[in-house]
């Protein structure tokens, strides 16, 4: 289980209605079901992973979040979770807007491209960074829109959504991000976790 699942779970109220976008093999869905007794649905692009979710008794729709969120009416869910996939979409702006249309709140996690290892990697090697959380080469990566924690904070101002809570994951420890420590968290945070609203 990914270390951020516990953090995501702490951000979600009990018995809420939740949509997990890009739910993968349903690990987070199961975790939230057990811990928060949520009414949870998933959407996943991989047929194989949809099968895994069905085998776990989870309600999952095979689909592409970029096109298939359209089918959900406004405010269908209390929370919509998007875990480490924002960078893989053709149009992240539309995806964020769609998340906040179908959900009252959204939880978005992003692998931080501003992490010092990434920066050093590019600085000294002069090649596109390859790290544990970003294991692909530039030519085969699904991650076409990488951003940093700082970029995401700026993004909230540009496309106008509220960041209700922002957290950084550093060595499996979670800490708050605020205006004063943003530069520091952007350097050391491996993952940014944001609870956002319209």
């Amino acid at each position: 289980m990914k270390p951020e699942y516990k953090i995501i779970s702490d951000l979600i109220e009990k018995n809420a209605k939740v949509l997990d976008v890009g739910c993968d093999d349903g690990t987070l869905m199961e975790f939230l079901k057990t811990n928060k007794n949520v009414n949870i649905r998933g959407i996943e692009i991989s047929k194989e992973k949809v099968q895994t979710c069905i085998a776990k008794g989870l309600t999952v729709i095979e689909g592409n979040a970029e096109f298939d969120l359209k089918q959900f009416p406004n405010d269908s869910f209390e929370y919509v979770v998007l875990g480490q996939t924002l960078q893989a979409f053709i149009n992240p702006e539309i995806v964020i807007k769609e998340l906040l249309r179908v959900g009252n709140k959204a939880i978005v996690t992003i692998p931080n491209f501003g992490h010092w290892k990434v920066r050093l990697n590019l600085l000294f090697k002069g090649t596109m960074p390859i790290t544990n959380s970003l294991p692909h080469d530039w030519y085969n990566t699904p991650n076409i829109h990488m951003c940093t924690i700082k970029d995401f904070v700026r993004f909230s101002k540009i496309i106008d959504f509220k960041i209700f809570k922002s957290l950084a994951l550093i060595n499996e420890n979670v800490s708050d991000i605020n205006n004063l420590n943003l530069i520091f968290k952007n350097l050391f945070g491996e993952l940014g976790i944001f609870l956002i609203e319209k």
Partner: protein, 374 residues
Amino acid sequence: MDIKQNIKTLIVEKPLKLDCGQTINNFPLAYETYGSLNHEKDNAILVFHALTGDQFVTGINPVTKKDGWWSYAVGSGKSIDTDKYFVICANVIGGCMGSFGPSHENPKTKKIYGTDFPVITINDMVNAQINLLDFFGIKKLFSIVGGSMGGMQVLQFISNYPDKTKTAIPIACTSSHSAQNIAFNELGRQAITADHNWSDGDYNLKNIVPDKGLAVARMAAHITYLSKKGLQEKFGRKLQERDDLKFGFDADFQIESYLRYQGSVFVDRFDANSYLYITRAMDYFDLVKQFNGNLSNAFKDTKAKFFIISFTSDWLYPTQENKEIVIALNAVGANVGFVEIESDKGHDSFLLNIPDFLKALKNFLDKSYAEKLS
């Protein structure tokens, strides 16, 4: 062939008002069951058959002596596990395996109905089958399952009886028959009625069968159940028991011989008038129109858990049409899962041994049953 002794029949006494306006009562509904109903009566699954299916879902069909049409999916330890679930399947009205249909005698005229039989709809089929629940004392089914026309019955059933099932699995189907669907059905009907033996539907009186027309109808339909890739891989341009073309009109190609065979075995087990009536029922099916253009309203009263399955190479009821059902369900916040199964076997995939499909079906049913849904 005395088929009657092998067929269980419920005589439905309650009047049933058909969509065409006529009312029928005291009509036979032929059915079969597999497995056993548990003490709580909460393990029943109603399976709906497709156009040319019947109530003999699995095991050896006592009439045709062949495997039941869904032997891959239904049986001991299979996806629809008869060790666990009580499976019920009825022959649709309009059919020819014991249920009230055009080959029955009209009590008023003492003549076989033929085309005097009332035109029936998917709605009528479902409303006839609901009587089986009372008959078995089942308040709520655990599931309703069906592919193709069976899937249409699933959708109609849940919109008519939203609280009569805990789960629903429409497979490779549509909420509204498309122009292309109607066109292929019309081709089949024209083939039958163009056969001189059809005799305006009264072939039974003359003891003849419009077998040529019915066979052509089956051949045409059979092509729509397969994919181009599947056909090409199975037959290609392979020749039938000959080394070269014969420059004539015998079956030179294996595909020709295959289709001729499919046509010929079909006429032995199926009634031509039933084919007309059932294809008509499919063509009339339009759940979208029934709910004034908003399919979601068909599902707004149900708490059932849905699982929709489509197949990549099915061009008769393509994924997009199945997805429209998913979209309509999501629009009313229904509990719906969906998967498109990779298969090059075309529409027929739901009847075949497609492991990913059979696995998904089994997992959904078994996990949902363990959940003890209300």
